[in-house]
């Protein structure tokens, strides 16, 4: 009998101490974890909006198909809108910010969250570098954005977006064929990750279009 009490006391004490330790760590890191997400979103927003635009956050109601939250960037007489949308890819929800001008042309895109297959779907965030390990590691980091989202610039969301699979990936194309691709309102697929590519495109075609229409329809 005393044995049972002793065992119970020891286990309970271990559990209580453990829970207290975790709760303490949580209280120290909670604010920081929340900050991280907001910070990532803000810097992504700044990178996709026209440089110099004044960004205002609009927390709307979800009535009339409006997004729960969106951003407007005013630069002189031009206004662009940015929304956060997500669509399910191969193994995760791909969450991204997309910035469009009022005629529906995509000005910039940035992927915030994804957990796709390493080596295939994760390449939606791949940054191509032409530097080699032995001379690039300690030199200054070059600033460049992922090619997959870069190719969406200039695509119009009011027209159907075509996915080009046969011409190879965008980063390997020359300027001429990139222009040709854009005339067809097309983007290239990631080799071996067609599902992830299609998810991003269909998210833009359905959700972004709906949001932009709703904002314009409400006279904003």
């Amino acid at each position: 009998m005393t044995d049972i009490i002793k065992l119970t006391v020891v286990l309970t004490l271990t559990g209580v101490v453990a829970a207290l330790l975790i709760a303490f760590t949580n209280s120290k890191t909670e604010a920081k974890i929340r900050d991280q997400a907001i910070q990532a979103q803000t810097s992504a927003l700044e990178s996709i909006m026209t440089p110099g635009a004044t960004i205002t956050e609009v927390v709307g109601t979800t009535e009339n198909g409006l997004p729960p939250q969106y951003w407007t960037g005013v630069n002189g007489s031009d206004t662009s809108y940015a929304f956060k949308t997500g669509s399910f890819g191969y193994s995760s929800t791909i969450v991204y910010l997309v910035c469009v001008s009022s005629d529906g042309t995509i000005q910039g895109m940035s992927i915030l969250e994804q957990n796709e297959t390493p080596g295939l779907g994760t390449r939606v965030q791949e940054i191509i570098s032409n530097k080699y390990l032995w001379n690039g590691l300690f030199s200054k980091k070059e600033e460049s954005s992922p090619w997959f989202t870069e190719q969406f610039k200039g695509v119009n969301i009011f027209k159907p977006v075509t996915i080009e699979k046969s011409s190879g990936e965008w980063h390997k194309m020359d300027k001429e064929s990139r222009e040709k691709l854009l005339q067809n309102n097309g983007v290239t697929a990631i080799t071996g990750a067609t599902i992830s590519t299609r998810a991003v495109v269909s998210g833009i075609e359905s959700q972004a279009k709906k949001y932009l229409n709703a904002i314009k329809g409400n006279g904003l």
Binding site: G15, A18, A19, I22, A23, N26, F88, Y90, S91, T93, I195
Partner: protein, 203 residues
């Protein structure tokens, strides 16, 4: 019960497309440890299916009715592993008392299951989003996911054990003999399972 198609989707996903062992890399230790003989592979597989089904239902209930309402999701890991450890002990004791024959068959594998990452893995996956609906798992979905992931595990384990029994008789080059050839076999199986990855039911 309106969503039978969704449940079938989860089942095929768990057994073939996202097979725990061959494409998610979860539960590898028993996959290599207990696959020498077909009979022990079957026993281990059954025990894992049983515990995974139970663990999925218990952890789902605890997560939805205790952890989430009180906003203590950060205790998830510690609570889940304790629930699984306790559950395995209870199952072991219950089997020993009420079904000695079943205990005889599964008993020796049960202690191994506490530290089998497949069980904790499915519990954590069930707290995320359902791949097919994009919404959180419902109770039935998570139980089906648990059992089906267990079946996927057993499927891979039995295939492996069958191949390994034949491998014993084969003349393998010295450098590859033993574990390396088993890993290569597993790699070829994973390659075959990669073929399922294009399956898409709902579009």
């Amino acid at each position: 019960m309106g969503n039978i198609a969704g449940l079938i989707g989860i089942s095929i996903g768990a057994v073939l497309i996202n097979n725990f062992v061959l494409s998610r890399f979860i539960g590898l230790c028993p996959f290599f440890g207990v696959s020498k003989k077909l009979s022990s592979a079957t026993g281990m597989g059954m025990a894992v299916i049983f515990v995974m089904g139970l663990a999925s239902s218990f952890t789902w209930l605890i997560n939805s009715f205790i952890l989430q309402p009180y906003h203590v999701e950060y205790l998830q890991t510690i609570v889940f592993i304790l629930v699984i450890a306790a559950l395995v002990q209870l199952v072991e004791m219950a089997l020993q008392k009420y079904s000695p024959s079943l205990y005889e068959a599964l008993g020796i594998y049960l202690p191994l299951i506490t530290t089998n990452c497949a069980v904790l893995g499915v519990a954590i996956i069930n707290t995320g989003l359902n791949q097919f609906t994009g919404a959180p798992f419902t109770f039935i979905e998570s139980v089906v996911n648990g059992i089906m992931s267990g079946i996927g595990f057993m499927f891979a384990l039995i295939l492996m054990a069958g191949i390994r029994e034949k491998l014993e008789l084969a003349d393998v080059p010295e450098l590859l003999d033993g574990l390396p050839i088993v890993f290569i076999t597993a790699g070829l199986m994973a390659l075959a399972f990669l073929g399922f990855s294009g399956l898409n039911f709902f579009s």
